[in-house]
Symmetry: D2
Subunit: 341 residues, 4 copies
């Protein structure tokens, strides 16, 4: 097996990123078919990618295509069904974040994957961003001593699709916008949270609240780890000005910042005595290398029979943080992390 043959489920934005990488930048990936509930979109996407087959259901694709793996980039609330089908067919699975919209669903997913014994990787691509990975290594090398405080800021320029507003389907804005931030904090700290507390407000989505009264668009999540550091995550959208992803880690012996609001590129100096540059405009550009390398790593893991990383456990922990955070928001006070790490 020299190439890994994929079916891609979900022809939305994240699906397109994975599809383009598999077709144009990863020789060892072989995209056989595109699945989308919207058959027309599946067809157009497969055409634009130069892929022959397209389907409206994963069942059909699994029946008709010889494939080794499924890349799941469909709506969050369909993840469980897609993963159960893929696992049932003994296909290896790459799944976009968040793993699920609730901890209960995440548990079911874990069961299905473990029972099938297939390989599974969750799409926390920031772990494959060279800068964030280097920061993580520096922490591991002891460059800043023990972590005292870790802050992650994650903001998107636009609003996500309307189905996201329904917390039952998406896990809510925290899950949609900040799953990567939560994973980063947990990955860097690598300890069990003691308690956490979410403050959230709705600044721009007044009309959204008419249908979804618990909708919020900006928030601050505070975490305290067992015998460990404090954590702060702030997130929100739409912020317009950038796709803004930054992490700051304060340790007993130093500090690390990684991530910049500005994109690399020219700086223009104009006659009004100002200088301007482009900001990071999209997660697609900002994490282009992360998306490419996470998929290459997943393929390598399967081809060489290694354990992919990040794992389903990593995916589940983030879902649990989101669920506890929403509980804290409801009761307007911190909540304890109960159960194991």
């Amino acid at each position: 097996m020299n190439k890994l043959r994929f079916v891609l489920v979900g022809a939305g934005r994240a699906g397109m990123v994975h599809g383009q990488n598999l077709v144009h930048y990863i020789p060892e990936g072989d995209l056989k078919a595109v699945v989308d509930v919207d058959l027309k979109r599946a067809e157009e996407t497969s055409a634009s990618l130069g892929v022959k087959s397209f389907y409206s259901t994963l069942d059909e694709a699994l029946e008709k295509e010889d494939c080794d793996a499924v890349c799941i980039a469909s709506l969050t609330f369909t993840h469980r069904e897609m993963i159960e089908k893929a696992a049932g067919a003994k296909k290896h699975i790459f799944c976009e974040k968040p793993l699920a919209q609730s901890l209960e669903e995440a548990e079911k997913i874990q069961e299905a994957v473990e029972k099938a014994g297939v390989k599974f990787q969750i799409g926390f691509m920031r772990r494959y961003d060279p800068g964030i990975r280097r920061a993580w290594e520096m922490v591991r090398e002891g460059k800043i001593g023990d972590i005292v405080l870790i802050k992650s800021t994650g903001r998107g320029p636009g609003l996500p699709a309307p189905w996201i507003f329904d917390r039952e389907k998406s896990g809510g804005m925290l899950a949609e916008v900040s799953s990567h931030d939560i994973d980063s904090v947990l990955w860097f700290v690598d300890k069990k949270p003691h308690h956490l507390h979410l403050e959230a407000k709705n600044f721009k989505g007044q009309e959204i609240r008419e249908e979804f009264p618990d909708f919020y668009d900006h928030y601050v999540l505070t975490m305290s780890f067992v015998e460990g550091p404090l954590g702060m995550i702030d997130g929100g959208c739409p912020v317009g000005y950038a796709y803004d992803a930054r992490i700051e880690i304060l340790g007993t012996e130093g500090m690390i910042k990684v991530g910049e609001t500005e994109a690399r590129g020219p700086v223009l100096y104009t006659s009004d005595k100002k200088s301007w540059r482009d900001n990071q405009s999209s997660w697609r550009d900002r994490f282009r290398e992360g998306y490419l390398e996470e998929m290459k790593s997943f393929i390598r893991s399967v081809l060489e029979d290694q354990n992919p990383s990040p794992s389903i456990i990593d995916g589940k922990r983030v879902v649990k943080v989101v669920e506890l955070a929403h509980k804290s928001l409801g009761q307007q006070s911190p909540v304890l992390w109960e159960g194991e790490w």
Copy 2:
């Protein structure tokens, strides 16, 4: 009256900054005497500044010196006594932050000042930092719409003097290290907080807790404003790597960052393929211009009979935030701001 004649109370670090500015950089200031409970320190300081007189009590200085104003940079828990004496002698007052160690003391101070009818300015010098002031103006000009989230980070390289560890005397680490951050958040938002919540931990000062069991050295303060934004302050010391003061203001139409961890100056590129620069090493360097301009402004206010700013009310609000935050820390849940703004 062409020059304002000062008595300086407190020959510590902040006192030295004001003393040097009055002597070496502010022609319209005239420093007549230095007061310190440690008479030897008062003598040495006055000698180093080229000032003729020194005393161990403010009473004595007020009796013997012709002066117009008192600059108070003594220990926090002495502020009330010093201010009452100065006000009693009808001297104008410039007072270092924090105003007092408790809200009760702050109220008494306000009474004394108002009764005497003297001018009073609290030393929130960041309002005179050109960058922070420009950011504040940009917010007022509507450059970023309405504030959605404001974050202020304040960290000091070393530990403060041991008397600070006693919350009864100093108001605690939050008051000592983050009074400027709290003032900045309140100044930018200019609305009444709805509730606030302090998370704090002790990472480096284990032995300090033996004497002061409630001691903490790093913390995160979350604030929510009435019909307004969220606020986050994180602070701590000793962090070693810098005097680090940064503010970030997210609005409905844009974002502003102000303050940098690095100092201006040369960047050195070395053969190990690294580049390094000096960080901001001290509040004295970072806010050199702020300290100078706040004092020039105070002098101008007195000489031209204007109201100095920031006012005693600004000082009192910060004390109230500190007191509520400590209450929240004790009960491990958010507390409401009660009473007027």
Copy 3:
């Protein structure tokens, strides 16, 4: 023809970059064989790339392999021979910079390519760097008016291989280190130089001068364009601290800077109150995307029967600048550009 089948000539550093891109990142490229005069190196390189065939001569490879194109990354003084063979066999050609060690050779190369009617692209990958390309577009869009001055700095961390020291073989240090800078200046200005002047000194290579008396390691090239701007190029190696490539374009209405000495990545703040970051350490990292995209573009040009760019003319102009610059260095005064643009 879905994929372009390549023979790679030259298994050195640049050859490896192209080989890895063709094998690991460009699905539409198909590397059939590696050629190197050192057969063992050819074998090792082909093995490490997972390529089946290797040869010690291009003749043999052309005879035995079905291929569409040749990627030439061999020593400069062999370019003419390799290009003539490839063109003779009607293969499309991608050739690394510099095109040749002398203008006379470059003319011969151009003849051979034009006679064969094959497609040819010279490896000025900076034109495919997103930042430099964006800067070039901004100039074309009129963002800074007319160019007044353009500066390009190019420095390498280490010394090139010893055969480079022989100007007869390599075109000299200016050709080796600054061909990209010269091309950038010509590409941005797009006008004929009026005269140019090279100042050069030898700071680190004293022992090299024993064998090559005209060796220099640092230099400044000044250019003046006909009814156009001034140009400055400074270059040199080994500088140790970075692979440093920066361009600055001053126009009548503004200024653009592009390229940074520092790499993107974490910033570490340490207890000595310093902050440090990694510099750009290698052209391979700095222009990773440029190398990838130039090759994808070349392949697309061939597959879609377009003219590749930059062209053989672009390659020849840079060789001419180098030759005139060396003449100017010899006579210690500026020399005129004679002949057409």
Copy 4:
């Protein structure tokens, strides 16, 4: 003598900077009178500074005022006359750059000052800029080994006053705009130049050439030092976008950059996904601290009977570089530095 009593000659832009510093920021300076050929301007300036006396000639001021020193900020071609008068009256002299419009004048000035035995400082304030001074110290400490190449860029946002266009009066644009850059290069290298070469063009001042045919507005000056580094200065105005002053020093062991086009201050991120900041807009802001500290240093030198620095020799060397550079421009080839260092 506790304060140094000054007469200020020249109420233009540079004169105002010195006047304001002496009055508002330097307690040990005492400005007694303002002299300007335009008596009305002298009167307005003295009024705005709160200074009692004003005159249209230095003679009159010297006759009527008790003073210790003269600060000369009048037009370049008047420097010799003003310095001769001040020296004749045994007054210490602070003189703005450039020292003179020709080397011949500079020699006469030196004679007059040496004969009078008064203290003299030339206004190369960049030596008092904390960042540039720190860079110079780092070079002296051996942080980058021996200097290989030094580059200084100096550009002004607007055109200087029309009298500057007359090279006979001002020394020309190179003297006006780049005297500080030339001094910096000489100060860092501290060796005798071997030869130098000026390339200059006129991009914006077409109509100026009607009256002054040798007028140029942008230029590149290349220098080669005896057994030493290469130097490059580029300058010009009006560039609109900033007051831009940057130095880069490449050494055998590393590299230093100092000076930034952008001012410190807020960064604004806007909904078009751009970020902007203010550039350095004026030499007054950029070198505010340099202007203040050079004058404090001059006063200290006089009060404590030390030799002020930079000296008249430093001033003269810059005039010589300008004169040789113009010779090189005329003959379109490099010229040798003859005579001593």
